[in-house]
Symmetry: C2
Subunit: 297 residues, 2 copies
């Protein structure tokens, strides 16, 4: 069997078109969704993520406003900018690009974002509401995975899902969302992590494996069962002298080896990645609707 390719890029393109249409409709009603992006310091990776997000906003017709602070900015200066974005009437979503140069202030900075403008879904109020099954702005990567599975016709209801990784932005919310009693969830979910002595023992039983370990190719073909659905969240660099950059991107899964064993699999790149920014756009529009007392699209 050859695995079905779960084409995140294609699904993201479809969703972005839907979002663009919705933005046009909203803008015609006088509500153009706006995203405020706060970038502190000059980290090249952060710079490139912010650029990609702003480009995606522009393509969807969403206003984006970048606030740039030097790496030397004080906590007070950063919080003042967040508060100004909280107040700004034309900004509906706020994104603080992580990591901050001083990671010790990240919690306070994120908690200062109004939950109503928390497009990353990182504020404790949104995390708590998500866990309680209440309407909430969901973190973009797990939210994107739910949509990949849904639009690929992969229902997880009644299935066994093994999530590898317990981070606050992927593994933990993913596990919670997949076990919720609703039409995107209802799976039996196991969370494995660095404290699991034998991860393969669990992944081999799984109908669906969500790999969010953050280590290249740690999930090998012998660790999945025949026909399993594999979602690869990893984005790791592997040396590749044939590339001008000297590296290529690989996931947490051994994609090539799994192709003949898995039932379906997301590639890296072109799988989960494009969905993450898409859900950021989705949340920005949802925030704009909610802040203007308009019904969800």
């Amino acid at each position: 069997m050859t695995a079905k390719r779960l084409d995140g890029k294609q699904i993201a393109a479809e969703m972005r078109l839907e979002i663009k249409t919705d933005v046009e409709r909203l803008s015609a009603e006088g509500v153009r969704p706006g995203l405020g992006v706060l970038l502190v310091g000059d980290d090249p990776a952060s710079r490139s993520y912010v650029t990609a997000k702003e480009k995606a906003c522009a393509e969807a017709g969403i206003l984006s406003r970048e606030i740039k602070l030097p790496a030397s900015a004080t906590k007070a200066e950063i919080l003042a900018e967040v508060r100004a974005l909280n107040e700004a009437g034309d900004i509906h979503g706020i994104l603080v690009q992580l990591p901050l140069p001083d990671s010790s202030i990240e919690e306070e900075v994120l908690n200062t974002i109004l939950p109503e403008k928390d497009v990353d879904g990182f504020h404790p109020v949104n995390v708590g509401r998500m866990m309680l099954g209440l309407p909430a702005y969901l973190p973009c990567t797990p939210h994107g995975i739910l949509h990949i599975l849904k639009r690929s016709g992969c229902s997880v209801s009644g299935k066994h899902v093994v999530v590898v990784g317990r981070s606050n932005i992927v593994g933990r919310p993913m596990a919670n969302l997949l076990s919720q009693k609703n039409d995107l969830g209802n799976a039996t979910v196991t969370v494995c992590h660095t404290g699991t002595p034998d991860i393969g023992r669990f992944t081999r039983q799984a109908d669906v494996v969500i790999a969010a370990a953050g280590r290249p190719k740690v999930i090998t073909a012998d660790m999945i069962k025949e026909g399993a659905v594999v979602v690869d969240v990893g984005v790791n660099r592997e040396e590749d002298s044939s590339k001008a950059s000297g590296f290529r991107l690989v996931g947490d899964c051994d994609y090539d080896a799994m192709l003949e064993k898995a039932g379906a699999i997301t590639p890296v790149p072109g799988g989960v990645g494009p969905m993450t920014i898409t859900m950021l756009l989705f949340n920005t529009v949802a925030c704009a609707r909610r802040l203007n007392n308009l019904p969800a699209s």
Copy 2:
């Protein structure tokens, strides 16, 4: 092998003594911890729970103040009482006894409690902080189970725990807490529920089973492996003509049949139950300390 009895009643008694000592110390410093209890309506079960909580407060030296409203109380009246407790300087913890006669307002009522006085750990801010691994007031039942395991010397680190049940007050927070990377967690956790086709397939693999299904004796001896640790959260009534009341309390597990197979097991009653109220006292004291800028005990 005969299972070790995990004596929640005994552990609760030890912890309540520690809490009482702490309350004496705090009271001597002029900070007597106080719990506000809001009871709406005349449900006999709710009445008896409230009485038990107030009795436990009195024994620990904690002030308890009961606010009683008739079943006909409006939402505005209920919220006004919650706000008054939020403002009350001698009240550090607030408990709204659930269910409310009108369950549709429960979310709003619970969200009105100051997170700093949320001794039940039900407010989205506390739920979110718990999930993010930040300091938070933890929901009493899963928090109590962590202490039963700890004080019984049952470390779950590196073990496979299967939680049966996905409720917001037990199963979901329990799973999250047990998978956290800290000395009470670090387990590989599977959550089973009504959407799991074959729960026994999972529980039979578990080193630790947490049964929070809310159905009498649904976890049978053939569903656990030899030597497993079993924590039974269930409190169900079973007809028993030999009792004056006509019933006896049974858990979600078939206790008698498991005694020769499990490595350790909590009885019902006398297991998890006594710990739940204990953690309410614990949280009330923790709130009193925090609201008065005193270090945690």
